[in-house]
Symmetry: C2
Subunit: 264 residues, 2 copies
């Protein structure tokens, strides 16, 4: 997409999106900068959902959250409007998706709180920088995601099983990937599993619950990371009367750098 | 062994060994302190062997080395005598073991240099401290070691294939072990492989080349670390006219702590 090449900063891209000129996915946009999963909920669910993130930090690493009604989060991005700066939103009622929108200004309410959750784009960039192939990038598709049999720690109405993303690698690359990702706990950190998919309740690796299947070559093992889609499963389980998230792959681009998330 | 319980410091244990009161293995001795693999060679091989360690730091992480003729290494241990403070030595001529000795004072020469190489005891302690089972400790036997098909980087006369030690673990524990061991590069660091033994040239996991076979339980994968026995294979390949090493498991106990080897 040509606009991307000419855009210099996350703020430029957010402004383009805000002005209605782009509503596609954000993979590869603003290289080096953090992109976030977004969950917007009425205040009455805020404590339970914050607790869910707190209880399940591997799947739901919280980068930041707002006070009720706030549409900005200056610690993570200047000149941010949460109602307009995401390319595509999903609106849920009682846990069911009811629409997709390119902005949510008309749906905004004073009781809404926003949660920003780390995204695997950050660690994929670190893997690529180290020369490790990321299959879903090579095959130009969405990462395959699976609902596991691993129960999250419940918080109020929010529960459900952990979702994982999968990237096939040789054992040698998997070991290096574990090292690299361990430095980034706020974007899911190290994998939770490798090898036998059935050990975590995945019966058919060729049929992901979300995203696209990728090829697994001889000598490779599937490596599984906690996934930021886990909150969407928790929302489907909790069935809050109202909720808005980003549309998968259509992330909020922040002003902070991926390297700033490294713990050492 | 009762003497162990009453001994407080590495220096106490070295003195006991020096005085001829103990010649057994040192596993579990002086908890918290570093134990080292030892290689003693004539000076004419010193540059080549130092280069071999430099070229193969995963298998041969060098903790320290001496000038020709020196029997002390005060940076790593006070009141040390390399000729007497190791419980059991192996003497080689032309790469063949010719004897085992409890001290080598009569064999000492002014042209001998000593190399101290990190040992997996250090990272096993860190794994146990984190609650990870180490099978060879549970089963009270020597860790199984295998000669792989992975060629070391040659240095002069020293070459040969890398030796690995193997510890079976669940994928979950293996991921944690990779994190923990990555902090300890000077005691072999992270594993080099997990899973399929044949991928690194091991044809029968039940028949290690050194040490003892350990059980692998359902749901576990073998995890392979670079091993400090690699130099002994390099010596057998190089066939130096004279060489002394420690006897496997009969290590030199140093004054430095395992925790001091952590890179972060």
């Amino acid at each position: 997409m040509d606009a991307n090449a000419s855009l210099k900063t996350p703020a430029d891209i957010r402004r383009l999106i805000r002005d209605g000129h782009y509503s596609g996915h954000t993979s590869g946009f603003a290289p080096g900068y953090v992109q976030a999963n977004v969950v917007i909920l009425p205040e009455k669910y805020a404590y339970d959902f914050l607790g869910f993130c707190q209880n399940n930090p591997r799947a739901c690493p919280l980068l930041g959250h707002t006070e009720a009604g706030a549409t900005e989060l200056p610690r993570l991005a200047q000149d941010l409007d949460i109602r307009t700066d995401i390319p595509k939103y999903r609106v849920y009622e009682l846990g069911q998706k009811v629409s997709e929108q390119t902005e949510i200004t008309s749906l905004w309410r004073k009781d809404l709180v926003t949660f920003l959750i780390g995204c695997s784009f950050s660690f994929e960039e670190a893997l690529l920088a180290d020369g490790i192939e990321v299959r879903n990038i090579t095959e130009n598709c969405n990462v395959p995601m699976y609902v596991t049999n691993q129960a999250c720690h419940r918080s109020g109405v929010f529960g459900g099983n952990m979702v994982v993303s999968m990237r096939p690698m040789t054992p040698k690359d998997a070991i290096r990937a574990i090292q690299i990702c361990s430095r980034f706990p706020s974007v899911h950190g190290a994998p939770v599993h490798f090898g036998d998919p059935q050990a975590i309740g995945i019966n058919d690796i060729k049929r992901p619950n979300f995203g696209d299947a990728v090829s697994i070559k001889p000598g490779e093992v599937p490596v599984f990371w906690p996934c930021g889609v886990t909150p969407q499963v928790a929302i489907a389980t909790a069935r809050p009367d109202f909720c808005i998230t980003h549309s998968p792959g259509h992330m909020l681009i922040l002003d902070i750098k991926n390297t700033a998330l490294s713990s050492f």
